[in-house]
Subunit: 346 residues, 2 copies
DNA sequence: CTGAAAGCGCTTACAG
DNA sequence: CTGAAAGCGCTTACAG
C-alpha cells in the first residue's frame, strides 16, 4: 500500500483537495463541520501531508533554522534551550540541524534555506573566514554565532551577515595575565592543532602577548598542540596532550587549556602522574560548560556569555528579516570565573 | 533577486532543463562537453537545486535517517560515528535528525520518511511502548535502537519494527549483586522520576530483585528519585539527588547511579560532604560513556555494547529494506566494567 | 463556504 | 545525446 495523499482523503470525504488542504491548515474560511469531518478521516487513516510538496508550493515559511557544526560540543548544547526559547517567543518556528565537521556550512545553509523557504538562519560554530563572494550570494538573512576567525575582531567582518562572538585573544590574555598575577611564571598551554587558524591560534596569540607584556619569555616547550589527525576538543585529546606535556619534564606550575572538555582529560593526566590540583599544577579552562562546576576541584574557567550571545543573535536576525541593511558584529566580554583549580602563589 | 531555478540555468546555457538536470545529476547519457559547460554556469551563479522539488519528484532516495530523541545525551553521541560508518559502508546516504524530548518520534519519523522518500529509519532513544496501531501504519522500514519499555524483554516486541536493546533489569541486577558480593549491604540508588516507566523503573526493579535474592530488605529511604519537573539525566540532577540522599542521614556504603552523567554530579556531592570515593561511598554508573574513564576515581560502570548495537541495528534495517518480513528483537548483554570507584569490603 | 485550475521546481520516461 | 511533456503532492488566488 502506497502512502496516502491529499487526493485520497478528498475522495474519502467527498470534497475537493482544496477543502482538505484548508481543513489541515486551519483555514478560517472553512465550515467547522466540514473541517471536523475531514480531520476525522485524516486521523483515522493517519494521513500525513508531504512536506516536500508543501515547501515547494508555499512562498514563505515562518521558520528559522539553527545550523550547528559539531553536535557533540557541550558548549553549543548549552545554547540550544536559549535559542529555542528566544525564537519561539519571537513567533518563529525553529529547528536544529546538525552538520559534520567537514561539511560546507554555508552551502548547507543555502540548500536548506531553499528547501524549507527559511526566514533566516543562525549558524553556530564554524568560522568567520568565508570568502565574501560566498556570503554575497546568501538569499536569506543569516547570523554567525560563536564563530572564530581573523575577521571577527577587525572592523570589517563579513558584510552580508551579522555576527556575535567573543574576543578570543583578549580572553586568553586575561587568563594568562590572571595566572601571572597569582604568581605563576611557568605557564603551559593546551591548544589546537599546529595548523589551526581559528580559536587555537587566536587564544595562543593572546597567551603570548600576555607573557610578553609581563616580561616572561615564550617557551615553545610549554605548548602542547592537538594531534592534527583527530582535531577535536575532547577529554581524550586533553588527556593525551597533558600526558605528552608532563613527559617533557619541563617545569611549570599552571596550564591554560583552551576547552573545558579537554581540561577534564588534563585533570586525569595530572592525577595519573601523582600530582595534585592546584597544589602542584593550576588549571584554567575555557567555555564555562555546566560540567566544570562538578569537577574536583571545580574548574576555574572563562565563562562565555551564552545568554547574551543567543539574545543578540536572535535580535540581529530579526532585524535582518525585518529588512534592515545594517550588519553588526558584536563582540562580547567573557567572564573569568574563579573557582578552586588555581593556586595563589603570592 | 530571487533565487535561481533550473530554468534560469537552462536559459543561460541555451539548453533544456532536462539537460541541466542531467548535468547536475551526473547522468551518464549526457555529452561531457555539455556537462562541463552547464556546470561552469552552475558554479558561476552558485546555483543550488531545490531539494523539496527534487524529493517530491523522485520516487525513491537512497537515504536512511537516524532520528535521535535527546541530542545532548552523550551515550547516544558516542554512537553517531559508528552509525555513520556502518550506513555509508552499506552504500546509504545518511543524516541525523534530532527531536526534542516531548516530540512524537513516530509521527516525526513518518513525516520525514514521506518528505525525503527515506529508505529506512533508525530511531535512537524513545520507548518501546508505541501502540501497535501506530507502528502498523509505518510505511517505511524502521529499527528501534537503545529503547526501553515493557515490551523489550518480553517475547512479543512491536511486530512491525525490529529493535535492539539491553536488558535493563538484568544489568541493574548485576550491578547490585556485584556490590553485595563486594561486601556492601546498604546500597542506595539514584534513579528516574517516580512516574518513570522506562529505564528508571526497569533498573529499579533489577536492583530490588537482587536485594531480595540476597536477603537484604528493600529500603525506600535509600532511593533518590529524580525531580519530575526536570526529568533529565544531567550532572545537576545527579548532584541534587545525591545531596538530598546524604541529608537523610541514612547509612549506606554504596550507590548505584542509573546514568554516568548523573554520577559526575553525585561525585561532587559526595566530595562536598567531605566524603571519599570509594573509601566512604562506592559508586557505580551506567552507560559507559567515554568521560567515565577520566573521572577521579575512574568510574566503575555498565558499558553498553555500542558497536554491536549499532551494527545490528543497521543489519536489521538492511534486512527490512531488502524485503524481509521477519522482525527481530535483539537484547544484548552489557559489561560491568570494574574501575576504581568501588571498595572491596571483604 | 467550496471547487477547478494553476503552478511551485524539479526528474524521467519517451520520442527523435 | 537532447528536448518536450507529464507529473510528484501540495497551496492559493479566483470564481461562484
Amino acid at each position: 500500500m502506497a502512502a496516502m495523499t491529499i487526493r485520497d482523503i478528498a475522495r474519502l470525504c467527498n470534497v475537493s483537495i482544496s477543502t482538505v488542504s484548508r481543513a489541515i491548515n486551519n483555514d478560517p474560511s472553512i465550515n467547522e463541520k466540514t473541517r471536523e469531518r475531514v480531520m476525522s478521516v485524516v486521523r483515522k487513516f493517519n494521513y500525513i501531508p508531504n512536506n516536500s510538496a508543501r515547501n515547494l508550493k508555499m512562498t514563505e515559511s515562518n521558520t528559522v533554522a539553527l545550523i550547528v557544526k559539531g553536535v557533540n560540543n557541550p558548549f553549543f548544547q548549552g545554547m540550544f534551550p536559549y535559542f529555542q526559547k528566544e525564537l519561539v517567543e519571537n513567533g518563529y518556528d525553529y529547528f536544529l540541524h546538525t552538520i559534520s565537521g567537514d561539511a560546507d556550512e554555508v552551502y548547507v545553509a543555502e540548500e536548506i534555506a531553499k528547501e524549507k523557504r527559511l526566514k533566516g538562519i543562525i549558524l553556530l560554530g564554524g568560522t568567520m573566514d568565508y570568502p565574501d563572494v560566498v556570503l554575497k550570494n546568501m538569499q536569506v538573512p543569516m547570523v554567525l554565532c560563536s564563530v572564530a576567525g581573523r575577521g571577527v575582531n577587525e572592523t570589517t567582518g563579513p558584510v552580508h551577515v551579522s555576527s556575535v562572538s567573543i574576543d578570543d585573544p583578549k580572553e586568553a590574555y586575561k587568563v594568562t595575565d590572571y595566572l601571572i598575577h597569582k604568581g605563576h611564571r611557568k605557564i603551559a598551554m593546551l591548544t589546537g592543532t599546529r595548523e589551526d587558524n581559528t580559536v587555537g591560534l587566536l587564544r595562543l596569540s593572546g597567551y603570548r602577548r600576555a607573557l610578553e607584556d609581563n616580561g616572561i619569555p615564550y617557551d615553545e616547550d610549554l605548548i602542547a598542540y592537538m594531534d592534527a589527525q583527530n582535531p577535536e576538543y575532547t577529554e581524550a585529546n586533553g588527556y593525551a596532550m597533558m600526558t605528552r606535556l608532563l613527559k617533557r619534564k619541563k617545569e611549570f606550575t599552571a596550564v591554560f587549556v583552551i576547552a573545558d572538555r579537554m581540561a577534564i582529560g588534563a585533570y586525569k593526566a595530572i592525577y595519573d602522574a601523582g600530582l595534585k590540583i592546584p597544589q602542584d599544577i593550576s588549571v584554567v579552562g575555557f567555555d564555562g560548560i555546566e560540567l566544570t562546576r562538578y569537577m574536583e576541584p571545580s574548574l576555574t574557567t572563562v565563562i562565555q556569555p551564552v545568554q547574551k550571545m543567543v539574545d543578540s543573535s536572535v535580535r540581529l536576525l530579526m532585524a535582518q528579516i525585518g529588512g534592515s541593511q545594517e550588519r553588526e558584529h558584536l563582540v562580547y566580554e567573557a567572564e573569568l570565573h574563579e573557582r578552586d583549580s588555581v593556586l595563589d602563589k603570592n
